[in-house]
Symmetry: C2
Subunit: 294 residues, 2 copies
């Protein structure tokens, strides 16, 4: 398949073309940059999709909640994509397994596209692959894109900054220490969910979460039987957070560009000076930037 | 405490001085850069410590293994530090809980320093905080530094590249998909461990792991009763991987420096051009770098 053909089929929303484009991006293959440039020049920055980030610790039922939200979005006749970002998948195969289980339920419907992404060879890191995947999915005509992440590492924080709305999912029974230590997470949340709300302690978690976030909305759901997910969906629809996808992607491209611009010998010389303690990393970084000017 | 006083007490290995220095770094406070510069100019790049990265999926018994390794290192009269990097801790409080449980066992011994790090306000991300913490711990006279991470996200891959030796811990019972999907992880491993080796399937996991890694050493341990950990410790001692801490830290500083150098109006103008699709992020990044020259 040539690149222009791929762009056209992607634009029509063909699942196989989307899958192929995402593979190019995930592996950071040479064609990926050209593909993205072509897609971006024509369809970039359209903002036709609602991009929803969904994160939370293992075991709170994120994947089930994502599946229910995806089905609800289909009932509203939206064209849906799910991107499951799983940094642990090289260990557990979690993303692969998830893919298969989900593909079965959605296989008959070309308007639900489901894909998991793990760390592969992308020099810009996992978050770069996610930014580029989001640009492609929006160009492919998706209306409602769910990005599922685990934890609150650098990848997750970067993804949360890039999307329209970030939903943080909690559940009762995660231990007494949650309340004290989740502060960092609360900052990235637009909407909070206490899933497994039929379990003991759910009300307490919801109340404490509400209190700790200066009144951010907290929704109670039972994803397994879809209880409360319709209200959550409505809230997601009417929440307009600040999407910083272009900023995040540009910053990532800038990081890659500066590293590519520095000649190998200048880099080696800087490291040697560092190892001899003739400079600090802060000074060496400033000097390397300065050297680009000449 | 003034900064010079802090440097001197850090150098003596005083636990409270180390703790305070790490807090400055973790929160990326203004004094942190000056502290690190001073420490680095005098003690940087000493390579007096063995820095060991230890990673693996949740539930394989990493923390227990780390504790046993730390105790073994103490028996060899090494001055030990444990850095537990837990990106999920804002959710689960895992790092905090771990700290407390461990502090109890090690509190009487000033030569075991234990600290957990989560994502806080560091603009360079979690891995930047880890790089800087490692420099401080080595300057504080630590001989054996264990860095425990979870998963294989960007943070973990960056940490693995920075340390001397990377140990990847697996266990039986993680599901059939492990073998197919753990390839990305195997690349960062110097040593592989199958923990919980008294359980069914441990031999099979060890054999398959060995086969999939072109013969990398695979050790079987039962961390709970320390079985096999002495052999693992000996292997760690005699393995000399490539430490890329300086490269990693310098690259991180370079990323921060380039962003700081770009004037706000140039950044805004680039974003506007992007949003009007007059440029691509790759072109915009190159143009921003070019603009630094004038």
């Amino acid at each position: 398949m040539d690149l222009q053909d791929l762009v056209e089929r992607l634009r029509k929303g063909e699942p196989r073309a989307i899958a192929r484009a995402l593979t190019l991006v995930e592996n950071d293959q040479p064609e990926a940059r050209e593909l993205l440039s072509r897609v971006f020049r024509v369809f970039g920055g359209e903002r036709s999709a609602k991009i929803v980030g969904l994160t939370g610790p293992p075991g709170v039922g994120k994947s089930t909640l994502v599946d229910v939200l995806a089905k609800l979005a289909r009932e509203h006749d939206l064209d849906v994509a799910v991107l499951a970002v799983d940094p642990t998948s090289p260990f557990t195969g979690g993303a692969l397994l998830g893919d298969r289980a989900r593909m079965d339920s959605g296989a008959a419907d070309p308007k639900i596209f489901i894909r998991s992404m793990a760390t592969r060879g992308h020099v810009g890191g996992l978050s770069a692959a996610v930014f580029e995947a989001l640009v492609l999915l929006e160009a492919a005509g998706k209306d409602f894109i769910l990005v599922e992440t685990v934890g609150a590492g650098q990848d997750e924080v970067e993804v949360a900054a890039a999307v329209d709305v970030t939903v943080v999912v909690l559940a009762p029974g995660l231990g007494d220490q949650i309340q004290a230590s989740k502060a960092g997470l609360m900052e990235i949340a637009d909407i909070l969910v206490v899933n497994k709300a039929d379990r003991d302690g759910a009300d307490l978690v919801a109340e404490e979460t509400h209190a700790h976030t200066d009144g951010k909305p907290v929704f109670k759901t039972v994803a397994l039987d879809a209880t409360g997910v319709d209200k959550l969906f409505t809230e997601i629809e009417r929440t307009h957070g600040e999407r910083r996808l272009m900023e995040s992607w540009l910053l990532n491209c800038l990081h890659r560009a500066v590293r590519e611009k520095i000649p190998a010998d200048a880099w080696t010389a800087a490291l040697e000076r560092l190892n001899r303690r003739q400079t600090t990393p802060y000074q060496a970084a400033a000097a390397l930037l300065e050297s680009l000017k000449s």
